[in-house]
Amino acid sequence: MDIPFFSSLDSLIRMNELKKIAAQAAALVIFSASVAFLTNAVRDDRLPLVMPFPPSFQCLSSEKPGDPVSVAQALAFFGKPGIVFVDARRAEAFQRGHIEGARHIPYSFVQPLSKETVDSLKGFETIIVYCNREEAEASKLMAGELAQAGIQGVVYLEKGFVGWVKSGGRYTGDAPEGYDE
C-alpha cells in the first residue's frame, strides 16, 4: 500500500539527491574552468581567450590560402570571357556596392561551401575572390577552400574592393566602407 507521507518523503529525498548532484556538477565545471583559465594565464604559450578574427590558422579544408592577384592584373582581366569576380562579403556589404558583374557567394567560416556552389564555378578560367580589404581573410580562406575543392585558376584580390575602387575599377552601388576619396 502506498502511504502518501512516505511517498512524498521519498520524492523529497530524491529531489535533494538531484540537487546535490547538480551542485556537485556545477562545482566541477566551475573548478575546472578556474584551473584551466588560471593555468592558461601563467603559461608561456597561452592562448588569447577570444581568437582574433581572422583566425590565426587555416581550416583544414583550406590548408593553403589561395594565390593572390594584384589589382592591376585584376583590372586587366575585367570583362574578359571566362573571368568571374566573386564577392565573399556579407549580403549587406554586397548590396551596398560591389565590383560590376560580381557574383555574390558569402563566405562563412562555420559552413563549408556547398557542392552546388563549387560546381557553379567550374566552367570559369579565372575566379577572383574579393572582400573589402586584403586583411579581410575571408577571400583568402574562400580562395583556398575552392582550390582545395578542385577549382582551377582561383585567386584572391590583393587590397580587396577598396583597392579596386581606388585604382579606378568599375563597380555598382556605393564605394566600400574604408574607401577614402
Partner: protein, 168 residues
Amino acid sequence: MNLMNRLGALRSVITHPLLPALLRVALGAVFIVASLDKIQNPEAFATNIANYRILPYVLINGMAVWLPWMEIITGTFLVLGIWTRAGTIIACGLLVVFSIAIAQALVRGLDISCGCFATNPDSERMSLWTLIWDLIWLSWGILVWLFDHGHYSFSKLLNRRKGKITAP
C-alpha cells in the same frame, strides 16, 4: 537454462558492484588520456575544434583552454570515485556533445581528424568508428549512472574509515 534464467544471470553480472566500478575507472581513464595532449597543445586543439566548423570563432579558444581541464578533472573524479554521479553526468554530457559534433562532421563530409586523443591535424581521419566509440563510452557512462552505487570508491573508503574512528 531457460531465457528467464539467462536474463537473470546477465542482470546479476551487470548489477554486480565490480562491473560498474570497472567501467567507471575505464571511462575516467579514457577522459584523462584524452585530455593530456590537448592540455600540452592548446593551440593545436583550437585548430581541431575550428575544423568541426560548428562553433563561432569567438568561442573556439575559450573552449580549447577549458575542455581538456574539464576532461582531466572529471576523469580523475571518476577514477577515484569521488562525486561519481556528478562526474558521470558531466562525462555523459560531454560524450553527447562530442557525438553530435562528430556526427555532423561526418554528415557534412568534413575530412578532418577527430582531435579526440591527439591534436595533430594529420593524425588519423575521422570515420564512423570514431562515432561508434563515442557511443560505446556513452553507454558505459549510462551503466555507471544506473548501477554504480559508490562501491570500490574513494568516498566509500573514507566513509568506512570515518565509521571505524567514530565507532564506540
